[in-house]
């Protein structure tokens, strides 16, 4: 046996950290490209899929797509949508939308950006046999099917620059979704050979690939400004070089050494020091990432229903509340995360319009040892507790420290045995949940918003049979409220309904909210105007470099 053989396996460990949920990043500059010119070097990670908008669902590729494509709308830093390619998006009933595209926009190969560019791209993305990872974005459009190859009959071309979208049901936040990369247009040339296109994508955004082979796999991608782009995101710099880092530690070292201009993820090991290392060039602000753990609400269907026997009905409700109040979120975010997480006061995120920290019943998210003990004892009166409370998590995501801290907090407050249950890979932990083979009562859950709306945090996660409702929660009252919210045109009125829906969640606790992840980042001395948006990504086009 060799010293190295074994120790080197440590490889992954710390560095694999945030890979999955946030799509791990790192960026740094290599000396050559940052020198002198106004090209910004930023951290990134090797895209995990070809650069096709409907097939990219992780941050590494998403960051590049957002730079080289322009959708109908783009998001301001606060998440409010602004027309990009669209001239107008109109609807009477929130079910049929008439979309007019501004004339004069072009792809970098000279093709015009018109109604067909969008219709064809969406049809491609939705078709089952194309196997696109983002196809669910089209599920609300008429004609969509998961089971068979079926065209989106809800898309109709009116003229070269106008088309209509008909949904299966009214969705007032549909226009808000259109800034997500799945809705980007594609030029005709893409459909000739999608694989080749994914390697050398031709877009219509503020930046473009600086030439054939601009994407050096595992190393970097060089983007030049697109002179033909006339939308609202006009680059204030001469280009963007996104350097791929295997770990955030590497990117951080490059930032400190002056080889990297902008970094959008601080490695865990530097949470305690980055603000002193970087001074006012450090960024630490709430982001649209919600973290929680979930205890399934129904035992049926799971391979081992006995794991949840104490979490059903009235007893379960009491125990969920007791667990939630047994966790000292303030202290854990303070100590384990060094203030880079914000204790949750609801199920969404403070960066989203309509968020509030004063929901009725939100005190269940406050640490209260006495109340927690009382609730737990009340539940024990229904059926006495036995065994260990465990939270399953994926060990490749850097979750161990907080899971252990949460378990200790529960253990110390309630006097029961509690611990984490790591599974080696993200794929395995997802399989345990999706295939329902989980053997512990709790499992880690998290959500990063696709588009900046409250509905995106609620509908997909807690509506009956929704795609990410891993715990099988079902409450008709909740369903009714969010459905009503989805069809309400007035944003404030809709948010009011979503908040009422959340108050139900606070009582049932289908997931136990923990905290909102902050975006942590920093930038170098040579750059200015660095602003991080609601989605944790810097607005690269705004950055200036002296």
């Amino acid at each position: 046996m060799r010293n190295g053989r074994i120790g080197l396996g440590l490889a992954a460990l710390a560095t694999a950290g945030a890979l999955v949920l946030t799509g791990c990043t790192a960026g740094g500059g290599e000396q050559g490209s940052s020198g002198g010119s106004g090209v910004i070097t930023a951290n990134g990670s090797e895209p995990q899929n070809p650069l096709i908008p409907t097939n990219t669902n992780e941050v590494g590729g998403g960051k590049i797509l957002d730079a080289i494509f322009a959708g109908l709308v783009y998001y301001e830093a606060d998440g409010s949508p602004v027309n990009d390619m669209a001239e107008s998006i109109e609807t009477e009933d929130n079910q049929t939308f008439t979309i007019t595209i501004a004339e004069g926009h072009e792809f970098t190969n000279g093709e015009p950006v018109d109604a067909d560019s969008f219709i064809n791209a969406w049809q491609y993305g939705a078709l089952l046999s194309n196997g696109q990872l983002n196809s669910y974005f089209f599920e609300d459009i008429q004609g969509f099917s998961y089971e068979t190859d079926s065209p989106l009959t809800g898309l109709a071309k009116v003229d070269d620059y106008t088309f209509t979208v008909t949904l299966n049901a009214p969705r007032s936040d549909f226009p808000l979704r259109l800034g997500y990369s799945a809705f980007y247009p594609l030029p005709d040339v893409a459909f000739e050979d999608m694989t080749a296109f994914g390697e050398n994508p031709i877009g219509n955004g503020p930046y473009m690939l600086s030439g054939e082979g601009a994407w050096q796999h595992d190393v970097k991608i060089d983007l030049a400004t697109n002179p033909d782009y006339t939308g609202g995101r006009e680059p204030q710099n001469d280009g963007l070089s996104i350097v791929f880092y295997a770990t955030q530690d590497a990117a951080y070292a490059d930032l400190l050494a002056g080889n990297l201009d902008v970094l959008d993820a601080i490695p865990d090991a530097n949470f305690g020091t980055f603000e002193s290392d970087l001074g006012d060039r450090a960024v630490n602000q709430p982001a649209a990432v919600f973290q929680s753990f979930t205890i399934p609400s129904v035992a049926e269907g799971w391979a081992d229903p006995s794991a949840f026997e104490h979490f059903l009905g009235e007893e379960g409700k009491l125990r969920r509340q007791a667990l939630s109040m047994a966790i000292d979120r303030e202290q854990i975010t303070d100590v384990i995360f060094e203030g880079t997480r914000t204790p949750a006061s609801d199920f969404t995120s403070p960066t989203i319009d309509g968020w509030t920290d004063s929901l009725e019943g939100a005190e269940v998210l406050q640490f209260d040892a006495d109340e927690a003990k009382r609730l737990w004892a009340e539940a024990d009166a229904i059926s006495p507790w036995s065994g260990t409370f465990q939270i399953t998590y994926n060990a490749d995501g850097g979750h161990q420290a907080w899971v252990d801290a949460v378990a200790n907090s529960i253990k110390n407050t309630l006097g029961i045995d509690a611990s984490g249950n790591p599974l080696p890979t993200f794929a395995e932990s997802r399989s345990a949940i999706v295939d329902k083979t989980l053997t512990t009562a709790g499992f880690r859950t998290g959500w990063q918003a696709d588009y900046p709306g409250l509905f995106n945090f609620l509908g997909p996660l807690y509506a009956t049979n929704a795609s990410s409702n891993d715990g099988g929660y079902s409450n008709p009252e909740f369903d009714a409220l969010i459905n009503e919210g989805a069809v309400t045109t007035d944003a404030d009125a809709a948010n009011e309904l979503y908040q009422q829906a959340q108050e139900i969640l606070l009582e049932d606790l289908p997931a136990i909210p923990l905290w909102y992840a902050n975006v942590t980042g920093g930038y170098g001395e040579g750059v200015d105007n660095v602003e991080f948006d609601w989605h944790s990504v810097p607005l690269y086009y705004e950055i200036t470099k002296s």
Binding site: R2, L10, N270, Q331, A401, A405, S409, N412
Partner: protein, 320 residues
Amino acid sequence: MRSDLSTGRASDAPHYVSDFADEAVVQIDSVKLDERRSNLWIDAWRDLRRRPVFWVSGVLILFITVVALFPGLFTSVDPRFCDIAKSNAGPEAGHVLGYTRQGCDVYARIVTGTGTSLSVGLIVVLLTSVLGILFGSLAGYYGGVVDAVLSRAGDIFFSIPYILAAVVIMSVLSAHRNIFVISLAIGLFAWPSTARVMRAEVMRVKNADFVMASIALGLSRFRILLRHVLPNAIAPVIVISTISLAAAITAEATLSFLGVGLPNSIMSWGNDISQAQATLRTEPMPLIWPSLALIVTVLSFILMGEALRNALDPRARARR
């Protein structure tokens, strides 16, 4: 040269020279017969017990073993009680080494983790040494087809990425994550490099003059391997094994980190080290203490290995 003479002198006081010499000759003869039969190992022990290094490392190892077997003698603090309010706090009364990031007592965790870390280290070293010596010496000694089969089998095992092997083994046996299984996961794919060093040494030693002499004397080949080749080729394996002990102890930490380690309830130094990495720049002490325990343990075994190796080498003995 031998102390046996003293027995003869003590038995009868008023002696004449002739008597004395008579008895002594008999004694010396018989001792020599004994010595031939006992060969290497008794000589080694006689040599060993004269070396201070042996005693120092022996006492240390004994002490570590006692800690491993009876951690309760050394601490009464519950290592499983962790209060995050005490995160990374410094030493205080009753908690001499301070607290970990999760707010657990560093000293109590080190004491309680000794058993796990020591067992994993020793089992892995035993596994890799036994497999390595067996396969390596057979391959090196017999050569030809035996060498081809054993060495190529080693190549296959060696080239399997460690993480993959560990994840698969520990997942398949996830219901039985104990010290033995984890040692198996660590050791099963690590023996080929020990085997290769063993093989190389055996290939070198088997051509030495004393082996040729034994062959000329008509000893059986296998007997020569056991009696003459192995003892003279074992030194590098002892060296590798003592260092592997450290590697195995830290490897256990790696497995925990990858989510395929021992259950949380079983404490170990490696686990503490890997968890303390997160605050290396701001709070290095929770990492340094278990590392020190590891260093002292490995040092004791390295010194013991050194003494053992010297004792087993007849040329080194001759010099003393």
